[in-house]
């Protein structure tokens, strides 16, 4: 009577570094051209450099805080690169700087959120195809499902669908909203790609004390959602998996999930102190090889790029960062009147009265 029941399988999705492609049926994705590979490298360097610089900006007092993505460049650039900004729509968290950059979002407008200028960022989400920056963990996963269902409802004549891609972390996978989103998406066959960056940590809590069963991808099976668990530090694998997931969704086959196994090499945010919950040795052992360094070696080995190209890419990254920093530095505060003006499309007498009162009392100051 006290014999343990055995789990019904599916919860052991292999160690993070082993990509699992076997769940992908059909043709392999078209290989990336040399030009595309170099473009990816340039993006990753730009993102790496901007990310490291943003931490410096914070230390220098230019911005009050920042959530670094060091180590997640392959996962972010690779997935963002697969987006068709003419018809798809992306729902980020607070850590998707690399996705924004890969999608071509105005980076001064993006970084303004970290300067405490405006919560969602100053970029235009409709034009950028990137929803406003989202601080609620798991908060926008359902939005992606709704947006995607909207595509089904207004399906164009050629039958192909705009696809929503939503980002969330291993920690976010614990939120009820994420479950509701997966179930809704699967019931409605909504064209949505759930892109999980499993970076090993939710602030101080490691994945093994967060994600029961050990894998977010394994959850997808319970909803009948096809899932891929991939090496999120291999940018080529990320691009290919994301393209295939998009193709799956675009053709009307319903949602797909990608769990990109990666590692948050930096602190959770500039106010975090990872030394309290993990040692430098653990970091070194668990992080694996640097995705940028790895990609660089590969490009060299394959003869796709040479040292001159890498130097050029770094130089471009540096001048890009300088421009962005200048833009961020130049950013003034938004006028206080926007607090009132942007609440509604149709304002109210009470708000107008409060705005008038505010104007009067702050002019006296």
């Amino acid at each position: 009577m006290d014999t343990p029941l055995t789990p019904t399988a599916g919860n052991d999705a292999g160690p993070p570094s082993e990509p699992r492609y076997e769940q992908l049926s059909g043709l392999p994705a078209e290989p990336l051209t040399a030009g595309q590979l170099r473009e990816l490298y340039s993006l990753m360097v730009a993102v790496r450099h901007l990310d490291a610089s943003a931490i410096a900006w914070q230390r220098q007092g230019l911005i009050p805080g920042y959530a670094p993505e060091l180590g997640q460049e392959a996962a972010q650039v690779g997935s963002g690169y697969a987006v068709d900004t003419a018809r798809d729509f992306v729902f980020p968290t607070y850590r998707e700087m690399g996705v924004a950059r890969a999608m071509g979002v105005d980076m001064v407008a993006y970084m303004s959120t970290h300067k405490a200028t405006w919560h969602g960022g100053l970029y235009d989400p409709q034009e950028s195809r990137l929803a406003p920056i989202q601080a609620v963990v798991g908060g926008s996963v359902l939005h992606a499902v709704g947006w995607a269902h909207g595509q089904t409802l207004s399906r164009p004549a050629d039958g192909t669908l705009g696809v929503a891609m939503t980002y969330f972390g291993d920690g976010a996978s614990s939120q009820g909203d994420v479950h509701e989103a997966m179930n809704f998406a699967a019931v409605m066959k909504a064209p949505v790609v759930f892109f999980v960056q499993n970076n090993g940590w939710a602030i101080s809590v490691p994945t093994e004390r967060q994600v029961a069963g050990g894998s977010v991808a394994a959850r997808a099976a319970g909803y009948g959602i096809p899932a891929l668990r991939i090496d999120g530090n291999d940018v080529v694998a990320v691009v290919e998996a994301t393209r295939r997931a998009f193709a799956h969704c675009r053709a009307g086959n319903g949602p797909a999930l990608i769990e990109a196994m990666t590692y948050r090499r930096g602190p959770h945010s500039t106010s975090d102190d990872p030394g309290r919950y993990r040692s430098l040795n653990e970091e070194r052992d668990d992080a694996g090889e640097d995705p940028l360094e790895r990609f660089r070696r590969r490009l060299l080995a394959d003869g796709v790029a040479d040292e001159a190209f890498f130097a050029e890419a770094l130089a471009a990254a540096k001048s890009e960062e300088e421009e962005i920093r200048a833009g961020v530095q130049a950013l003034g505060s938004r006028p206080g009147s926007e607090m009132f003006d942007l609440v509604f499309q149709e304002t109210t007498p009470a708000l107008q009265a409060q705005a008038a009162n505010w104007r009067e009392e702050s002019e006296h100051v």
Partner: protein
């Protein structure tokens, strides 16, 4: 069946608005309004638990799926956060979602999406992503229902920046306010007084903008439902009918009661409120929600601010108690009844500065 009704059903069939005055229950009036909204805006969608095939547990969406198809009117899985979170994405994609939560008490699982997303997305996106979400919430008590089926969440909603909140008190109001709310570019919480669903009343369809509502006010204002000289009763939803009853009884004792139907709980029509109490010099606010930090406090404070010099007595609040909404056996003890409202009137009339 009267000609008017036959005509109006014919009108419904091709989506053109109804005409004339009809006696309808609030359930019918709401159903008509939704029908017209769907007919008028191909981007309007209705969804929630059981509102498709069943037509809703209160039948407010009855027949609409059959008429507009499962793309426009559909059942969702049983998850309120899912329903409201999905509404955000649909709004971003250019739709006008009209979701339903099945009962007031089941709005709580969706509060995170309502407060942090629906109410803030227009702001967060700097006006580029409006949230024209009309959330229908069958609200308030009085029907001897199970737990969590008789809640009054207006104070919570009214406190949330970015939301507008409205509650109709009769079929005419229900029809016009829902049509108005469901064509706004901002999120509106539409609180339906479920105990009034089956009460009939005249709906004047010709006042397409609600402008010939009883007091001739605009769709965004409060309504004087009964003019009076001695005291103003302020109420909304199901309490309006009760206050009108109270006014009749008080009249027998020579007390001339004005009844103000607030309608919009956010933004509150402060001008109407103040105008009424400046005249009567006394006010009693009535609601079903618990007393402490209820919307009655806001109403009372607006009255006090606006009528400080004329007010003859502190505003009375006759409300539910600070207790969880009780089971059917005790709900008549909990919801403000006629006697308690009369006591409140008596207190403001008899108040003498000490």
């Amino acid at each position: 069946m009267s000609n008017a009704i036959l005509e109006s059903e014919a009108a419904m069939a091709d989506g053109t608005p109804n005409h004339g005055v009809e006696q309808l229950s609030m359930q019918q009036a709401l159903n008509r309004a939704l029908d017209e909204v769907l007919a008028g805006n191909p981007k309007a969608l209705i969804f929630g638990e059981d509102c498709g095939r069943l037509g809703g547990v209160f039948r407010i969406t009855d027949g609409l799926q059959a008429k507009y198809g499962t793309g426009r009117v559909f059942d969702t899985p049983l998850a309120e956060s899912g329903i409201l979170g999905m509404s955000v994405g649909l709004a971003m994609a250019g739709f006008h979602p009209i979701p339903e939560v099945q009962f007031d008490g089941f709005a709580y699982p969706a509060i995170n999406q309502i407060v942090c997303q629906i109410a803030r997305m227009n702001y967060r996106s700097r006006g580029t992503m409006p949230m024209p979400v009309t959330l229908r919430v069958p609200s308030f008590g009085g029907i001897r229902a199970p737990e969590h089926h008789g809640e009054s969440l207006e104070a919570l909603f009214a406190h949330v920046p970015g939301l507008k909140v409205v509650s109709p008190s009769n079929p005419h109001e229900a029809y016009h306010l829902l049509k108005y709310a469901a064509t706004r570019p901002d999120p509106v919480i539409f609180m339906e007084p479920k105990s009034r669903y089956w009460q009939k009343g005249g709906v004047n369809f010709d006042s397409a903008d609600g402008s010939d509502s009883p007091a001739g006010d605009s769709p965004t204002g409060a309504n004087v439902m009964r003019a009076g000289r001695h005291v103003t009763l302020v109420a909304w939803g199901a309490m309006v009918a009760r206050c009108l009853q109270v006014a009749e009884l008080a009249a027998e004792d020579g007390i001339d009661v004005e009844v103000l139907d607030l309608r919009w709980l956010k933004p509150i029509d402060e001008a109407a409120l103040v105008a009424s109490v400046r005249k009567t010099r006394r006010a009693v606010v009535v609601h079903e929600a618990p007393l402490t930090s209820g919307l009655g406090a806001e109403v009372a404070q607006l009255v006090t601010q606006g009528c400080f010099d004329t007010l003859k007595a502190p505003v009375e609040r006759i409300t539910g108690f600070d207790v969880p909404y009780p089971s059917g056996d005790l709900e008549d003890e909990y919801i403000p009844n006629i006697d308690r409202i009369l006591f409140g009137i008596q207190r403001v009339l008899e108040y003498r500065r000490g």
